[in-house]
Symmetry: C2
Subunit: 500 residues, 2 copies
């Protein structure tokens, strides 16, 4: 290895040591930290972030990167680890150096305050009190985009923060196709008799929920030597090393299966990180790549596996045993239909598989319109409600249950939402390919076996870490770029069975 590359990797190693230390502090903050520790923890995280930023943006890092691009990159195979490291590092370096410190300072102050404002606005269901803050957030996001000019679309630099390598035009083309077909499917489902899921909305003992979740993700292949699970207010996955990937869960009093599906979801995120090639450790490559790919992994285990009939053919007798009082009189098909009930609703985070994407598309369309200036922030609630009616056939009675429901915008995040829906699409696209490559996968799942499935994901997705973008990975794994057809086929087939 050349001297420059070795030195560059040494710096990256330290940058990611600090970043992973911060991740552990963040994990602790949400799991075990006593309340009193909050103030000093804030200082600690700020200092680590500052040092990480200094290392990233140092003169030496910039110079090494230029030299590596000039002298080393041309000599490397384009898909080699080292070539991809240099290319990805350039992108991360630019994102850290092109945005002036003054802008970051102002944006941080703005969004810190905006989150407080949003919380009150939501409590009072009063959009107008949040409107000025959101106007300024849109304005500053336009300024952010300018730092990355030229671009095809003003939304591109925002999207690139979370979904590096994807353009607005690409996502719009994909979503256009989804929208019409998914609205049509929802109409057909709404015309059918509703399925019963009353047995899910009764108390389930927590300890048994915990144990069953552990049994399931252990069967999936979660590595407990390199991971753990704890409780927290909001479930999340934390990577403080590819050999130390932690998930959290929570228990909801009147939703007996929510902890289980959340454990499968976070387990999916975690197994992705655990599957990264150890040679990529302590580098920008040592993490899952874009949000869409990350979400494809969590959704695949949660929905395509965890809400499938083959999975429950194996696990239903076991869950009945774990919860005899709750499920003793429920049969497999009633259970299966219940956990897959479709019901257009107001709140994104409670949406089912068939309606979730509609919540996302609506948000992305409104974000783009605000960024383009074709939608004034003051007209946002009206636009929101109109689209809710058009896509889901429901109209929020209040802004708290509508446009004010998500924290993202008050935190300045625009460009994040699309990754949720892309994750769904990718999960189904991979799923079709997996079934071609593993024709007896359903039979394996019926026996509670997931080795081959995890092996496929490790080989095609996990081990690469952040080497490839979402489009590159999906192309390599399935032979084509991201396309919505497999997801639409999956939905139609699944719900034909459930809603006859």
């Amino acid at each position: 290895m050349g001297k420059n590359l070795a030195r560059f990797k040494e710096i990256m190693g330290e940058v990611y040591d600090i970043s992973h230390a911060s991740a552990l502090l963040g994990w602790d903050q949400q799991t075990y930290m006593p309340a009193g520790g909050a103030e000093d923890r804030g200082y600690q995280l700020a200092t680590l972030a500052k040092i990480e930023h200094q290392l990233w943006t140092s003169e030496e890092t910039g110079r090494l990167l230029e030299d590596l691009e000039k002298d080393t990159l041309p000599t490397l195979a384009p898909d080699s680890d080292d070539a991809r490291l240099i290319v990805l590092a350039r992108d991360l370096y630019n994102k850290r150096t092109r945005v002036p410190a003054a802008w970051i300072g102002e944006f941080t102050r703005l969004t810190t305050e905006a989150q407080q404002t949003w919380m009150k606005a939501r409590q009072n269901s009063d959009f107008s009190s949040f409107q000025p803050a959101l106007e300024r957030i849109v304005e500053m996001n336009r300024e952010y985009a300018q730092f990355f000019a030229p671009y095809q679309h003003v939304y591109d630099p925002l999207l690139d923060m979370f979904e590096h390598g994807m353009t607005t035009a690409e996502v719009q083309a994909i979503f256009k196709q989804v929208r019409a077909e998914q609205v049509q499917l929802l109409k057909e489902i709404a015309a059918r008799p509703q399925v019963d899921d009353s047995f899910l909305h009764i108390p389930y003992p927590e300890k048994a929920q915990w144990d069953f979740g552990v049994e399931v993700i252990t069967a999936f292949g979660f590595d407990w030597q390199r991971g753990r699970q704890d409780k927290s207010a909001h479930p999340f996955t934390n990577n403080s090393s590819i050999d130390d990937v932690r998930i959290t869960t929570r228990f909801e009093p009147d939703s007996g299966m929510s902890a289980l599906f959340s454990t499968m979801h976070e387990g999916g995120h975690a197994m992705y990180e655990q599957g990264i090639d150890p040679s990529l450790r302590r580098s920008p490559l040592a993490g899952g790549t874009t949000m869409a790919i990350h979400e494809s992994q969590s959704r695949l285990w949660e929905n395509l596996v965890g809400r499938s009939l083959p999975f429950w053919k194996h696990f239903f007798p076991r869950i009945q045993q774990a919860f005899p009082a709750q499920l003793g009189n429920v049969d497999l098909m009633r259970f299966y239909r219940g956990i897959n009930r479709v019901e257009p609703s107001l709140i994104r985070v409670e949406a089912d598989e068939a309606t979730y994407n509609m919540h996302i598309m609506l948000r992305m369309e409104l974000e783009i319109a605000m960024m383009e200036g074709t939608l004034a922030v003051k007209d946002l609630p009206e636009a929101w409600n109109a689209r809710m009616q058009e896509y889901l056939g429901v109209t929020p009675p209040t802004d708290a249950l509508g446009v004010l429901q998500d924290i993202h915008w008050s935190g300045g995040m625009m460009g994040y939402f699309p990754t949720y829906a892309l994750g769904n699409l990718v999960s189904a696209q991979l799923w079709e390919q997996i079934h071609k490559d593993l024709p007896d996968l359903d039979a394996q799942m019926e026996q509670g076996k997931f080795n081959d499935l995890l092996g496929w994901l490790r080989e095609k997705i996990h081990r690469h870490g952040s080497k490839f973008t979402a489009q590159e990975l999906v192309q390599r794994a399935t032979g084509s770029k991201i396309t919505p057809e497999p997801y639409l086929r999956y939905l139609r087939q699944k719900y034909s069975q459930i809603y006859s």
Copy 2:
């Protein structure tokens, strides 16, 4: 505040943010980290240590310190927080800058290897295989002392690492008095009939042990909003903020009270850190001062409170209730005598209050002799065994149970042991003063009340953090420097009662 002082405090704030982040990573390593995380955690801790060292030893830090000493220190009241910050920072700065990096590198390699060698040597009870490593460690510790020349005694710079402000001559003078009297006391006790503690060496349910320990330190005043307790292989206290002080405990299968006394001990360390004045946070002053003072706090709660008759007059009915099968037929006095049983033994960490100091003095004397060159390392086992016979009347049958029992020397640590014994002496000296200032303390303890006691400790010791050395603190609190008489009086009085 002057510009230099403000900037210096800013740097110190960042230094201690990093140091506290490292502490949290260390806590996690010993409590919740999955085994697989060890390798990357090692890198993370090394990188944080490197950055902390760079910040401490930067040109800017050195220049600011010089300017502050020249321009600011003379204008400050000598006992003010700012004056003490500058004085302490100078000492810490010198300790970090006078030792060459090459020496640190070699010492780290030497001791890393020596610990492996020691572990094997202890397994085989073969001192000679450890001898060459220890010879080199003594040699390098002499080199270390040279970096701090001139000194009164070659052992001074080693002692100063753990007990800043204390000299070898001072400790020797104190110990000289202890030795003769304590040996005499042990002889008298040995002549009396032994007390029974068989009821301690049966299984006690873990959950009830945990709960009882929590009840006790809650009564002491441990602040659960700014602390927590977890399990670990070896009990320790961790400070990652004065508002986030954590203790750990462990349960031993055939020692029913060990977790309880360990919880009181670590609780004592933790309440010290929790009691530091909040205005000292994020600075070198925001931690307990020397090891002796720290140990005085843990020993005070563990022994002077936790093994006292007034304490158990309140808590014995409660512990009987918690462990009816184990203690239902034991009465208060039998219990009290049992937990205070004296028995000269081979192993320091198992020693009781009356014998513990003898283990320490022996080690310090041998360390000093090796450093002076008056004892060759090859003659160490013989010297060890002779002193064990002289002080405790027992002779180790093997070196594993003798000179090879502690990890400290293999890790390069010389100068640490005396702080344990000094802590015992200080605890009793404070205790006498506390009883003068709070004449009804025994009555309070008999009612399970510790507010006044904790208040006294907060006022006289805790709030000062690292502002004062052990001698200064003890002088301020009791009117005289550290003296062994109170401890000797305490032992004689206590054991007269127990052994009639």
